[in-house]
């Protein structure tokens, strides 16, 4: 098992009487992009803080690159790059000063590992004398990633790097992660955006401190055990109400301009659903059988 870089065994954490995470176990392979996908309050940050030695688990064990998160915490801090969810650089230092600070703290120089951050840093270099606090959101994110990488970590842990970030910057960020993966850095990343799951090699879907599943994105989709329909009509608001009241209705979820519908009957065709919708006086009806996406799967697992 030389390739396992992160090994987590039955960790739990309580805050007073609230259980934040419950018996979590998983492993991450070298060079993987491993995603923790789930909403706020699911326990993503708690897991990352335990792995980065910033928080002690109440029970269970975890090690990174063979080092125990409790007894070897100093070693772990040298091999992990961590980008917390909240921007945590020095706002009153400039871009270049922040980068130099982090390089110095880890006993290295910007020059030594420049090729690792080059692609990212070059985009903020024109602003290198600007105070970090005065950067735009996208630029802060790039600086934070550069600082987390400057000591050439084996494992990069990114807590919700794309939260509140627009769709364009999110895409660019994931492209940067892809490039880092090529450099054999193991990446753990958390996100509340379900569509980002497909960009990971494996994901853990997490809700209320428990994993709903750990799988490759493809397998999560393959495991979806229902037939899924995409349904449309002229009056979507009314359509949703009608389908919700349909006696055979299982789930009805809005998805952009269509509804995703599952039926409690196993063997049915478009016809039966169409007939029902027609009987409710809808026009421009469309009922198409579709493949689920990660969000469909997440909701399916949530309601189990």
């Amino acid at each position: 098992m030389n390739n396992t870089v992160v090994k987590v065994n039955k960790i739990s954490k309580f805050y007073k009487n609230v259980q934040a995470i419950h018996d979590i176990s998983f492993e991450v392979e070298k060079g993987e992009i491993f995603g923790l996908i789930g909403p706020d309050g699911a326990g993503k940050t708690t897991i990352f803080r335990i792995l980065t030695t910033l928080l002690l688990a109440d029970t269970g064990k975890a090690n990174l690159a063979g080092f125990d998160v409790v007894s070897d915490y100093k070693k772990i801090r040298n091999i992990v790059g961590y980008m917390p969810g909240r921007f945590s650089l020095y706002q009153d230092l400039s871009v270049i000063e922040n980068l130099m600070f982090f390089a110095t703290v880890f006993g290295t120089t910007i020059e030594e590992n420049y090729d690792l951050i080059k692609d990212i840093y070059i985009q903020i270099e024109p602003f290198k004398n600007r105070l970090a606090g005065k950067l735009s959101g996208g630029m802060k994110q790039k600086l934070a990633l550069s600082c987390a990488l400057i000591h050439k970590p084996e494992i990069l842990i990114l807590d919700e790097p794309t939260t509140g970030v627009d769709a364009v910057s999110r895409k660019e960020f994931w492209e940067m992660l892809r490039k880092l993966k090529e450099k054999e850095i193991t990446i753990m990343v958390s996100t509340p955006y379900m569509d980002e799951a497909s960009l990971c090699d494996r994901v853990a879907l997490i809700q209320n401190g428990e994993f709903l599943d750990i799988e490759t994105p493809e397998n999560i989709i393959n495991k979806f055990d229902k037939k899924l329909w995409s349904v449309k009509s002229q009056d979507m608001y009314q359509l949703r109400n009608d389908l919700n009241e349909f006696q055979y209705s299982d789930t009805v979820f809005a998805f952009g301009q269509t509804l995703h519908y599952t039926d409690i009957r196993k063997e049915i065709s478009n016809r039966e659903i169409e007939e029902f919708i027609k009987s409710k006086n809808h026009q421009n009806i469309s009922v198409v059988s579709i493949e689920p996406n990660i969000e469909d799967c997440f909701m399916n697992l949530m309601t189990k």
């Binding site: 789930g38 309050g41 070059i122 985009q123 959101g137 509140g164 910057s169 509340p192 379900m194 952009g256």
Partner: protein
């Protein structure tokens, strides 16, 4: 639609400058009554600046803007009474109970005690959380807080509610329940003005505007936009419009 009674927000050449920086550059748009209007744009495109002006919190540098029949230059206090506002991290007061929060916000908007009691009763009934009336907000599940925050933002029956990324970080089921509440509010006559980074949510809107660098570069129904920009969905439209050529060599 040129019937003026149907237009609830009207901006003509709205411009806001901070020094030499132009945050809003000659914005022209109209929002119709009862509409769900999606206000999209990359981070830093100028959405928040425009929203603050519409809420009467900041004045334009030039241009005309009318909100709920009032002029933002001279009648901003009147505007504030006619609108509701909810931002992503605006949670309610955690150390007040559900009812205390309702009473607090109702009070701010000048509702009578009787109205507050009635509306609170209806709201708690609708959400099915009557028995949590006297529970602290801190003790409620995350998803409930968000929904409750929305219902409280419209407790005074505003003409327009402004929602700034209301569903960030919310689980997918709650996110949809939240949109059900938005639809209902719009059905009940409240105009909804919403920003979001979820492009599937953009498709729930009646019309959408997309801002890039302080300008509105597109404004139409989601369907027309996807046709016009030959895209599968709003995500593609957004990427096409908002992705800028990288100035420095990447």
């Amino acid at each position: 639609m040129n019937d003026n009674n149907d237009i609830i927000i009207k901006a003509i050449d709205l411009t806001k400058k901070f020094g030499s920086f132009v945050a809003n550059d000659n914005l022209n748009f109209e929002v119709k009554q009862n509409e769900i209007f999606g206000f999209l744009g990359a981070n830093g495109a100028g959405k928040t600046t425009a929203m603050r002006i519409m809420c009467g919190l900041s004045k334009p540098s030039s241009g005309e803007i009318n909100v709920a029949g009032f002029n933002v230059y001279t009648q901003s206090e009147k505007i504030k009474k006619k609108i509701g506002y909810m931002c992503q991290k605006f949670s309610l007061y955690e150390d007040l109970t559900v009812f205390e929060n309702i009473r607090f916000y109702g009070g701010i908007y000048g509702m009578s005690r009787k109205d507050i009691r009635n509306e609170a009763g209806r709201l708690l009934q609708d959400m099915g959380i009557n028995k949590y009336r006297n529970s602290l907000i801190a003790s409620l599940p995350m998803g409930w807080k968000q929904k409750l925050a929305f219902l409280i933002a419209i407790i005074h029956k505003p003409k327009i509610v402004f929602l700034d990324e209301p569903t960030g970080g919310v689980d997918p089921i709650t996110r949809r329940q939240f949109w059900d509440l938005i639809y209902k509010a719009s059905h009940d006559g409240i105009t909804v003005f919403v920003t979001t980074h979820y492009m599937d949510e953009a498709e729930y809107c009646d019309r959408i505007s997309i801002m890039v660098d302080g300008k509105i570069v597109a404004l139409d129904t989601p369907e027309n936009l996807t046709t016009k920009y030959k895209s599968k969905n709003m995500d593609e439209v957004f990427i096409k419009l908002a992705r800028k050529p990288v100035t420095s060599n990447q």
